[in-house]
């Protein structure tokens, strides 16, 4: 069979080469690099061994559009025009479009989306890991409707489980690894009869279904008004100090860069790293000596979890791509997004494609949009510059709207950057403020938006999954988000 494949490949190559010699475009770099890519793809073979490890990367809110912006930002920060850049995961062999809606929501939120990837079924808006009979905010509806998570399944197979997030570790995406709740907001307090998310994490770590967590959110692990080591204050009203209880139970605790660097990563003791009382800092605002980067956390998590010979499941979330989009601030969206790409690249370096399935995806997209017709190299954060005949790069002259004002490449359909502002009589009226390149590329700038809202919204648009490693070839086409669980499950159970 192998011989036949090789012979067929040679025949294809010869035909392609002969054909190319006749074409005037055959010497173009575009043509030859595409030909080289075709050869790579022809040579690629799917990996059908059982996966020892699974890493699920989620950049929250990083749909097709946001990811496009990260691609250009990353490229431009490396001196490219931008569009030609290839993010580390964009060269993975298998991609799919992922449909992100929730059972009862055309526009999804991060709780049921992450839940679908961790349980294999779509879920109800604002709930985590309950069946479709679960009712948001209805504590009684949890009973009998709790689903089994991927982390519980792989724990049963002897694997270790880790969770990394730059959001609070009790926030929707990380919580979906271990929690089952009728309301994603029950992070540190729940109605009688239900268990808050922080306590569910403590219980999971105590039970051994979670072995390592890095993130923010210490406030929900410490009693109300009690100061935490990261400089924040606790909010638990039940008086429990889950951080102290964890330490007393033999778990390691880190709260800043120094204590993070002092962790013992030999896999012998569980790790609880909580670096902020709420979310960790945006990458742009972060200081190295205060808290580790997502890349630092990824490296340490893999080092610790890989000590288990049976393998591991690790979910890594860049949680604040989403938050910056909500704020309408493309600068922090893209700087956090770029850090995410570096964390993915490092995880890939530290693992072996033959035994580790890596999936890079998002939970949902945002109401982000892109203007035209910008010339190549227009700063993705800045103004849309014109195209100039006879040159590849843009003209340096900003394009103008019919109102005579320039506009940025990125815009939002709604949010705090709205050009409609509240007038003294309570009505809303808008005219686009004037702007220049300096103002538009400032780290605090909010791209102009249309509908006035305090917080920009998610959108129901598709996201992408990029995959490599065992059974990654199952992640192709246009898929429901819950299929991701089934690929991970098949990969770790395949014979």
């Amino acid at each position: 069979m192998k011989l036949t494949v090789t012979a067929a490949l040679v025949a294809t190559l010869s035909a392609s080469t002969a054909f190319a010699q006749d074409l005037p475009q055959a010497s173009s770099d575009w043509y030859t690099s595409a030909q080289a890519l075709i050869q790579e793809k022809l040579a690629a073979q799917p990996i059908t061994k059982k996966a020892k490890n699974v890493i699920l990367f989620v950049a929250d809110g990083n749909g097709v559009g946001t990811n496009y912006a990260i691609r250009l930002f990353d490229g431009q920060s490396k001196g490219m025009l931008g569009s030609e850049n290839v993010l580390p995961y964009e060269s993975y062999p298998y991609t799919a479009l992922i449909k992100t809606y929730n059972i009862n929501a055309q526009t999804p939120d991060s709780a049921p989306t992450a839940g679908s990837m961790n349980t294999g079924v779509k879920q109800i808006f604002n709930t985590i890991n309950l069946s479709e009979a679960g009712v948001n905010k209805d504590c009684a509806s949890e009973e009998g409707n709790k689903l089994t998570t991927f982390s519980e399944i792989v724990t049963g197979m002897g694997k270790s489980v880790g969770i990394v997030s730059t959001a609070r570790i009790t926030h929707a995406t990380p919580a979906a690894v271990y929690a089952k709740t009728a309301d994603r907001n029950w992070e540190g307090e729940a109605p009688e009869g239900c268990t808050d998310i922080a306590q569910q994490l403590f219980d999971a770590m105590s039970a051994g279904t979670v072995d390592l967590v890095f993130g923010g959110g210490s406030r929900y692990f410490a009693p109300k008004d009690v100061e935490t080591m990261d400089g924040g204050k606790g909010r638990r009203i039940d008086g429990r100090n889950l951080i102290e209880e964890a330490q007393a139970a033999g778990m390691q605790y880190a709260y800043n860069t120094a204590s993070f660097n002092a962790l013992n990563l030999d896999g012998s003791a569980p790790v609880l790293g909580l670096f902020e009382d709420s979310h960790m800092k945006y990458e742009y605002d972060r200081a190295d000596d205060d808290e580790p980067s997502l890349t630092d956390l990824t490296k340490a998590a893999i080092e610790h979890l890989s000590k288990n010979g049976e393998g591991f499941y690790l979910e890594i979330e860049s949680g604040r791509v989403d938050h910056a989009n909500h704020a309408g601030n493309a600068y922090r969206t893209l700087t956090d997004g770029q850090e995410f790409t570096q964390a993915v690249a490092l995880a890939d370096e530290l693992t072996d494609d033959e035994d580790t399935l890596i999936i890079v995806t998002a939970d949902h997209e945002h109401a982000i949009a892109f203007n035209g017709y910008c010339g190549r190299g227009s700063n993705i954060l800045g103004l849309c510059m014109g195209i100039k005949a006879g040159q590849t790069e843009h003209s340096g002259e900003p394009l103008l709207g019919a109102d005579g004002k320039p506009y940025t490449v990125i815009g939002y359909l709604n949010g705090a950057g709205s050009v409609m502002t509240e007038q003294s009589d309570g009505s809303y009226f808008g005219t686009r403020p004037a702007l220049d390149e300096d103002a538009a590329t400032d780290p605090e700038y909010l791209q102009q938006a249309l509908i006035p809202m305090s917080s920009e919204t998610h959108s129901g648009e598709d996201v992408v999954s990029f995959a490599k490693g065992p059974w990654a070839h199952l992640l192709t086409g246009t898929l429901e988000q819950n299929v991701i669980f089934h690929v991970m499950h098949h990969a770790v159970t395949a014979e």
Binding site: E187, A287, D289, D322, A327, N329, A416, G417, E444, S455
Partner: protein, 141 residues
């Protein structure tokens, strides 16, 4: 709006910030804080002096007051980021000379006042601040 009106309006808009800048340099919130939230050298050097800071007026805590919080980006309330309204940790408390006229949370302003550093708890509101502008005025920026 006809072209002539537009030009005049454009001149007026362009003129105001330049005149302002000649009187007083406008700084940003990030010029007052380092990344670790310690005070910048600029903030320390300007303590007790009048400065002008660009930012946004968070929705006031109390009507007819002379107090508001200046944020570096509009104070968006994001239901999926926070379970309740939460202040960022790099804010500037502003005490105004006159009773405050509210500006929408997403309209840029410049506030000028005397810079005060150090932790202070507002006796009426209980609001704890580390940096303040006192005896301040507010203009749309």
């Amino acid at each position: 709006m006809d072209r002539r009106t537009f030009l005049i309006a454009g001149l007026a808009t362009g003129f105001a910030p330049r005149a302002f800048a000649q009187d007083d340099e406008v700084v940003r919130m990030r010029d007052l804080y380092n990344k670790d939230l310690s005070f910048s050298d600029y903030a320390k050097s300007m303590e007790g002096r009048r400065i002008s800071v660009q930012g946004f007026m968070a929705p006031p805590l109390k009507a007819d007051s002379n107090f508001f919080v200046l944020t570096k980006r509009p104070m968006a309330v994001c239901p999926f980021c926070e379970t309740e309204a939460e202040w960022p940790n790099d804010i500037l408390a502003v005490y105004t000379k006159r009773t405050l006229r509210t500006v929408p949370f997403n309209v840029r302003i410049v506030t000028s006042g005397e810079l005060a550093l150090g932790t202070y708890t507002d006796p009426e509101l209980g609001f704890v601040s580390r940096v303040r502008l006192v005896d301040s005025t507010v203009a749309r920026g």
